[in-house]
């Protein structure tokens, strides 16, 4: 018998179940794109039949990191850039959990970029939502890794001399197996994408465009957006790595020109998740590791079994 009976529990929930009693109302600035992530994440959870006790939401630091304060579930609001190590270890400890990590573009593509590369590479079965507002929101509007070249801010008074990061291709090269971009202005598409991302058995990377009306004075609202799956202008096979790479390049280039291409950019089915790989190669037990601690019949092999080699 499992010690974790919230997992897979047959329970009717609605979006209110994911609204915390302590901080029911989010305090982001009016018009902030972050509200859309909160709303669509709740909706996606309901559509997937999840209950708050089987979800672990790990966040970073930034306006985006406050997501866990406004979302009812097991939550770990970690530190700047480090949500992914915490989250991915939880998928190894208890693979049956619904693990979602989330944070800003500075958090995920800047300070935590090394973890992004390696978590995608390992293809952990989890979902990673990057609130991409092309700015450091919480710290009051500094240039971020996704800010366009020439972006001026108090710390880049003459305009950034750097090309922005191209997150979609980065995710692809690193090894993510589901990559999508959505935008706060299209909650219907965003919900669909989040459902797919969580359904996906592997590392799902969702670059979520979230406008920051307070600090991104160009007041990007990420409209008009185009869904690459719906548009007749784009023909590409989302399962084909080369097609996907080209489409991503196009999307990131046009983003900087003010044209918003959203949708699924890459989906790889069939590649085993990291936990599966480890199980198949005998590096991880079939049962969730954590269950042993609550199983009265579990056998705890002593270290003295190893002593023969020292005699």
């Amino acid at each position: 018998m499992s010690a974790f009976n919230a997992i897979g529990a047959d329970q009717e929930v609605d979006t209110d179940a994911f609204t915390p009693g302590v901080e029911p109302r989010a305090t982001w600035c009016p018009g902030c794109g972050d509200f859309a992530v909160l709303k669509t994440l709740k909706q996606a959870m309901v559509e997937r039949g999840k209950n708050p006790d089987e979800v672990l939401l790990v966040t970073g630091i930034g306006c985006s990191g406050k997501l866990s304060s406004y979302f009812e579930s097991y939550g770990f609001h970690s530190i700047h850039g480090r949500s992914l190590p915490v989250a991915r270890a939880a998928t190894l400890a208890n693979p049956d959990l619904e693990v979602v990590a989330a944070g800003g573009d500075g958090d995920g593509y800047g300070i935590g970029g090394n973890h992004f590369t390696h978590t995608a590479r390992e293809n952990h079965d989890m979902t990673y939502i990057v609130f991409n507002n092309e700015i450091f929101g919480l710290t009051k509007g500094q240039t971020s890794p996704t800010s366009p070249k020439g972006h001026k801010s108090k710390t880049q008074p003459s305009g950034s001399a750097k090309n922005p990061i191209r997150p979609l291709e980065w995710g692809l090269n690193a090894g993510a197996t589901y990559i999508a971009r959505t935008a706060a202005v299209n909650p219907r598409q965003a919900t669909e994408i989040l459902v797919e991302a969580m359904d996906h058995d592997g590392f799902a990377h969702v670059d979520f465009l979230t406008q920051c009306p307070t600090w991104n004075k160009d007041a990007k609202q990420y409209v008009p957006y185009i869904d690459v799956q719906d548009s007749e202008d784009f023909e590409f096979d989302v399962h084909d790595r080369d097609d996907a790479a080209q489409m991503m390049r196009e999307a990131d280039t046009r983003l900087h020109e003010g044209e918003i291409l959203t949708g699924r950019f890459f989906v790889e089915e069939g590649r085993p998740s990291y936990s599966e790989e480890k199980r198949q190669t005998g590096q991880m037990p079939d049962e969730p590791i954590v269950e042993q601690y609550f199983d009265e019949n579990a056998e705890w092999k002593p270290s003295s079994d190893l002593l023969d080699r020292h005699r």
Binding site: A3, F4, N5, A6, I7, A9, P20, G21, V22, E23, P52, D53, E54, V55, L56, V58, I61, S68, S69, E72, S73, Y74, G75, F76, H77, S78, I79, R82, L84, P85, V86, R88, A89, A90, L92, A93, N94, L97, N114, H115, T117, H118, K278, G282, Q283, P285, I289, V290, Q292, Y293, F294, W300, K301, P302, S303, S304, L306, L307, H310, R311
Partner: protein
């Protein structure tokens, strides 16, 4: 005066198989009934650079190096050879012989490979003749062409086997246990060749040399079944028996040893090991695994541990139990990667922003590595905070015989600590909205039981920000005070638990001694050895080995200092960090404390401690060893 002992030093190039040969030989000595202790001298490079391993063996337990040694097997440095030419770089190949003569005791044995070491080169480097030195010191020199024996029956790299065969012949050691061990680790042609070489070298010594020395193999039997292993094994096995089933890490010397042992065995124990992109990820993953309910560990050496500091504080703030190992090496920065130092005490105690709230243990022996790692897990998971086990390159790589009962005495303890079951969650305090009040103020010893993701009705938020009883961010002053006070209360509770259930300080030496030695971590055994020698002449010295660095064992240390007139704090760093801790925690006794410091990359030898302490006793700083620094002098201290 002294008990018969064999201290065998094997010297050669870094690629000459010093490690494996010496470890096997140590095992042979153990199997023939002796206690052994190995010391490994490391140069930093993988190849090139001379190195040696030393094995001290006698009939009674050995806890440290001796002073000097009595048997040198000088292989010569075969890797000093230029790959393109037959020539050697300068006189490098003779250095494993000439550089080891200083410590060779009078009456000792020298075996050298004359196939590689040219005696004329030796004499020219020595600027005198080996023969003359040997006469002066009554050394017994046995030149043997080990290279020739090895190449005749096998390959040149098997010179070390020839050296072992010669050693056996010279000390009347039976070849059987050596052959048995070789058969365990080799097979086929390699085994055949090695066995032949072993016998050939043995026979050659017996046939061609007249044995005229006094060094003989001690005789002994073990009262308890022994095992030969290192401090790294102690830590790793302690973790296994504490129910640790997750380790994450990034290689760094010397932490890599613990990481390697656990990585090799965790899967067969139902756990997982992760080598990840950096130490930040390693620390974050151990925290994540533990948050999800698995007993977890990570660790590193100085530089990597520095990268973990922000997450260490996160574990304190989120009250996530986790155990970190810090295997110190010479610092700062990359420092001296393969040399031991005790320079990271302040680092492990205070690193990370804010007041620190953690457990820090510094075991002094292999047995203590095992026990204190288990204890670290037990306390970390009971009190929900990080625990650090700090060792160093000396302890981590030092092999010694210990009774196997150390590891068999108590069964594994997988208790996950203060965690609620789903049934208990039903009765626990919840917010009206249904989330668990994970950080409520009222808590015994400051500890509110945890719930784990996936448990029904247990959901809560935790955060590295200050938070209210529900785990939500709060900067309310009243809440802040109460949360800080609650978390801090754990320190006192842990101190009480330790005092009640047994502390980890070790007292050694005379009961009512006039002089004391305070020591922490890996230098403990060396100091105890020195205490024996000091007390041979005047029975006036006692030592306290301290392992509990945080929470600090105030009464143990204060009682000890009360009992002596003066005390020398022995540690391997230049800043006297432990002495600083003692004074900071006790706020007294400054006028009776001296520091004996060593920071040249080599651990203390017992004689250095003896001389350093004598310098204090006799008030004669000139007898303190030049390799150490003694401060303050008595004159400045009494001022």
């Amino acid at each position: 005066m002294t008990e018969n002992e064999l201290i065998w030093r094997l010297a050669g190039g870094s690629g000459d198989g010093i490690d494996s040969t010496s470890q096997n030989f140590a095992k042979v000595l153990m199997r023939s009934g002796l206690h052994v202790f190995t010391h490994r001298h490391y140069p930093s490079r993988i190849r090139g650079g001379h190195t040696y391993a030393e094995i001290r063996s006698k009939a009674t337990p050995v806890r440290s190096r001796g002073d000097g040694y009595n048997f040198l097997l000088a292989l010569g440095d075969s890797f000093a050879r230029s790959p393109d030419e037959e020539a050697y770089y300068g006189n490098e190949e003779v250095k494993p012989l000439v550089e080891n003569l200083d410590d060779l005791r009078d009456g000792g044995i020298i075996v050298y490979d004359e196939g590689l070491i040219d005696i004329d080169d030796v004499d020219s480097v020595l600027e005198t003749s080996l023969e003359a030195l040997a006469a002066e010191h009554d050394w017994h020199v046995y030149p043997l062409d080990l290279r020739d024996i090895a190449t005749e029956h096998g390959r040149e790299v098997m010179r070390n086997t020839a050296g072992v065969g010669a050693t056996a012949a010279l000390i009347s050691l039976d070849l059987d246990p050596i052959e048995a061990l070789m058969s365990d680790s080799m097979s086929g042609d390699a085994l055949e060749a090695n066995l032949t070489i072993l016998q050939a070298a043995y026979d050659q010594v017996r046939d061609e040399h007249e044995i005229d020395h006094d060094v003989v193999l001690p005789e002994g039997t073990h009262e308890e079944a022994p095992v030969l292993l290192s401090g790294s094994h102690g830590v790793a096995y302690g973790a296994l028996d504490a129910g640790c089933r997750f380790i994450s890490g990034y290689p760094m010397t010397p932490w890599t040893e613990v990481f390697t042992i656990l990585s090799q065995h965790l899967p067969e124990y139902g756990g997982v090991s992760e080598q990840v992109e950096d130490e930040i990820a390693a620390a974050g993953m151990a925290i994540g695994a533990s948050h999800a309910g698995v007993k977890a560990m990570s660790g590193s050496s100085g530089g990597g541990f520095a990268l973990m500091s922000e997450l260490l504080g996160t574990a304190e703030m989120t009250e996530t139990p986790v155990v970190f190992v810090e295997a110190m090496r010479g610092g700062p920065s990359t420092g001296m990667p393969t040399k031991p130092e005790q320079g990271d005490l302040d680092h492990v105690l205070y690193s990370s922003q804010g007041d620190s709230n953690r457990i820090v243990f510094a075991p002094g022996t292999i047995e203590e590595c095992y026990e204190q790692t288990r204890r670290a897990f037990e306390l970390a998971y009971e009190y929900q905070l990080p625990a650090i086990v700090v060792i160093d390159q000396k302890l981590s790589g030092e092999y010694r015989t210990v009774p196997d009962s150390v590891f068999t005495e108590s069964a594994p303890d997988p208790d996950p600590g203060t965690v609620l079951t789903e049934e208990e969650i039903e009765d626990a305090a919840h917010h009206a909205s249904g989330s668990y009040l994970r950080f409520q103020y009222d808590a015994d010893d400051g500890v509110v039981p945890r719930t784990l993701p996936g448990q029904k009705g247990g959901r809560f938020l935790t955060t590295g920000n200050e938070h209210n009883p529900a785990g939500h961010i709060s900067e309310d002053p009243e809440n802040r005070r109460r949360q800080v006070d609650r978390r801090r209360a754990k320190q006192e509770a842990i101190r009480e638990t330790l005092d009640e259930t047994g502390t980890h300080q070790t007292r050694y030496g005379t009961e009512d001694a006039r002089y004391g030695i305070l020591v922490w971590g890996s230098q403990q055994s060396t100091v105890f050895e020195a205490v024996d020698r000091l007390n041979e002449t005047d029975d006036s010295v006692s030592a306290l080995g301290v392992s509990e660095m945080m929470p600090f064992p105030e009464s143990d240390v204060a009682d000890f200092l009360e009992s002596v007139e003066e005390a020398v704090v022995v540690e391997m760093n230049s800043g006297g960090q432990f002495r600083g801790l003692v004074q900071r925690e006790l706020g007294a006794y400054g006028d009776r404390l001296y520091s004996l410091l060593k920071y040249d990359g080599n651990p203390f030898e017992p004689a250095e401690v003896v001389d350093g302490v004598r310098a204090v006793i006799t008030d004669d700083p000139s007898v303190a060893p030049p390799t150490t620094r003694l401060e303050p002098t008595k004159a400045t201290n009494s001022r």
